[in-house]
């Protein structure tokens, strides 16, 4: 039973909360709200998938918010001058470049990920302000709102992109050699190096991918407002890290999953949604959200400790001569 909860605790928490809320609030269980819930959390979800890989590899990225804004601004500027596809491509390329720089600084120059990505976060935001005088970019074609708020057939675009990104990163992590490398680099960098893994290359790739996904998130944000916002996505890096941590990925690397992250994103999103629907004061909402992060991480730490204790006890018994 304990093992079951250790593995599926987050899933059970999610399902129980979902059921309680669905019984409680008719507004919550409406299909429109379900679609909304998925759509609202798509951007955080996409960024968090990239963050999961970065955190499993033993790092994390504080520049994803600024990087998403960069992608949106570059995208908006290019869309005005050329076309929507050119803008989207340019946006993704810009943020991928920032991701690559992060990766190179961390992997090759050996600067700690916290300092590196804090630095690139500030620089990126600064460059956006310099190049635009901190003014929003207006006048994008209204049709671009499809990317942020619209549907293709019955599928909301943003949600579909989230699902796609989650599936791809999941397969990448669990079913390819690259995923194994990421896990082993995060688990024990020295051992990974000794077993012949090109640690620097793995780290660089992971941060480049993280940058690209932040850029994709930024393009969706742009589609919600069709206004290039210099201040867009500030603080999103912490939302993403919170969701990843709630999803069970270890802050010290080597452990974690995309399924956990998806659940973490949806759990956090569901709570925010419920707090709104139940008309809880906006001033109280951050308090509740913060408590939930602490609870989730607290359970995780407690259950790991319990598991460790059990293992030690068992180990002790088997060591006795029979």
């Amino acid at each position: 039973m304990r093992k079951f909860f250790q593995t599926y605790g987050l899933f059970v928490t999610f399902v129980v909360m979902f059921i309680v809320l669905a019984i409680w609030s008719p507004a919550f269980r409406s299909p429109q709200n379900m679609l909304n819930l998925l759509q609202q959390n798509a951007v955080n979800g996409i960024i968090a998938c990239g963050m999961t890989l970065m955190m499993i590899s033993g790092g994390f990225d504080l520049s994803v918010g600024a990087n998403a804004a960069l992608s949106g601004m570059v995208g908006a500027a290019l869309m005005l001058r050329f076309s929507i596809p050119v803008g989207m491509l340019g946006g993704i390329l810009a943020s991928t470049a920032v991701g690559l720089i992060n990766g190179l600084l961390i992997a090759k120059a050996g600067i700690n990920p916290f300092v590196t990505t804090l630095g690139t976060q500030i620089i990126t935001r600064g460059l956006i302000y310099v190049s635009t005088n901190a003014k929003p970019i207006y006048g994008l074609p209204l049709s671009y709102m499809t990317v942020g708020l619209g549907k293709v057939g019955p599928f909301p675009v943003a949600t579909s992109l989230f699902v796609l990104v989650a599936i791809i990163t999941h397969i990448l992590l669990k079913h390819t050699p690259f995923g194994q490398y990421v896990l082993s680099v995060g688990g024990n960098e020295e051992a990974a190096r000794l077993s012949g893994i090109n640690v620097a290359k793995v780290k660089t790739l992971v941060f480049t991918l993280g940058g690209a996904l932040a850029g994709l998130g930024g393009l969706i944000l742009l589609g919600q407002t069709i206004t290039g916002q210099p201040q867009a996505a500030s603080g999103y890096e912490l939302n993403a890290i919170a969701a990843v941590v709630v999803g069970g990925t270890s802050l010290s690397g080597g452990q974690g999953s995309i399924t956990g992250t998806v659940l973490g994103v949806l759990l956090m999103g569901m709570i925010a949604n419920a707090l709104n629907l139940l008309n809880v004061s906006p001033y109280w909402q951050p308090v509740v959200t913060g408590m939930i992060i602490l609870l989730a991480v607290g359970f995780d730490a407690a259950s790991k400790k319990a598991a460790l204790r059990q293992r030690i006890r068992k180990g002790g018994q088997s060591a006795k001569p029979s």
Binding site: N33, K135, Q224, I226, T227, Q229, L295
Partner: protein, 311 residues
């Protein structure tokens, strides 16, 4: 883990139990303010609640947290909940246009208050201050303070917000007839008093005594800056602020600040709710359209005691 789930549920019960009450036969207003942590909106929020009680409206109020995309999500949520009317204070006029279009398509009426909604989406009306007129009033106050000649530093709010853009346009509109008044520098303080103080220190360094006659701030964030310039003896620099919170009232009384333009957020909120009530009860023809402007008096040391601070 089982215990912990019980704990989460108990927490949820505790939090939600008190607020989950059903309201029948009452119109529901979905209100959203772009940044509720901004003190300007404290009295605005009070106005919303007071009006909700007076007109028997069910008020939902959610925060845009200073992030346009968060506010878009809030409006989407209101559309999903099918509220009777959306009352919005946008942070960026243009950024909410796509989602207001979606509200229009869903047949939910929208009233804008305090800040405008940009072109392309339909709103019933806009209730608030005319920011262009606000800027003109600031310019008139400036001329009253320094005459028709002088060097002026201009401190603007968050760039791109409609208040910043329109106040600047109104300010420049009046000053174009006074070519001897020169705006020597224009800096954004983002409506933030710490940034405003830092900008003031820089300006006072760059323009030593005798080269600067006034500092005009689009909002009230300039109070620490004004106190600072007074402290270091730069009393020749006249200060013009915008809005009338308690600290601005004090510095006007102390003579540190020459004057301000009074924009009280309370009646904006209250009147916006009254417009919502008129609309929902079929008295659409009584609503001033497309704008319903609240008067903006000039406040100086001569009449400062007649006015209550806005927050």
């Amino acid at each position: 883990m089982r215990k912990s789930i019980v704990f989460v549920l108990a927490l949820a019960l505790l939090l939600f139990g008190s607020v989950a009450s059903a309201a029948d036969k009452q119109f529901t207003i979905g209100a959203t303010i772009w940044d509720m942590s901004n003190p300007f909106y404290a009295n605005f929020i009070q106005g919303l609640y007071d009006a909700a009680e007076d007109f028997n409206l069910n008020l939902l109020l959610r925060d845009g947290q200073g992030d346009p995309n968060t506010q878009v999500a809030v409006v989407r949520q209101y559309i999903a909940e099918n509220v009777d009317l959306i009352l919005i204070v946008p942070g960026d006029a243009q950024a909410v246009v796509p989602v207001i279009i979606q509200a229009n398509q869903a047949g939910i009426p929208v009233i804008a208050a305090n800040n405008r909604v940009g072109e392309g989406a339909e709103v019933v009306t806009f209730v608030g201050a005319d920011d262009f007129y606000f800027g003109q009033q600031q310019a008139r106050l400036l001329i009253q303070a320094i005459g028709t000649k002088g060097n002026v530093a201009y401190l603007m709010g968050e760039l791109g917000t409609s208040a910043q853009v329109l106040r600047q346009a109104g300010f420049e509109d009046v000053l174009k007839d006074y070519p001897d008044i020169k705006i020597v520098t224009a800096i954004s303080d983002g409506w933030d008093s710490a940034r405003s103080l830092a900008a003031t220190q820089d300006i006072l360094l760059k323009y030593p005594a005798g080269t600067l006659d006034a500092i005009v701030n689009q909002g009230p964030a300039g109070v620490p800056g004004a106190k600072y310039s007074h402290q270091i003896g730069r009393t020749e620099v006249k200060w013009i602020l915008g809005d009338f919170p308690r600290d601005v009232k004090e510095v006007i009384k102390e003579g540190i600040v020459y004057g301000t333009v009074l924009q009280d957020p309370y009646p904006q909120a209250y009147e916006a709710m009254r417009m919502a009530e008129l609309y929902l009860t079929g008295r659409d023809d009584e609503i001033p359209k497309p704008n319903y402007f609240i008067e903006l008096p000039l406040v100086t040391s001569e009449n400062v005691d007649q006015f209550e601070p806005s927050w």
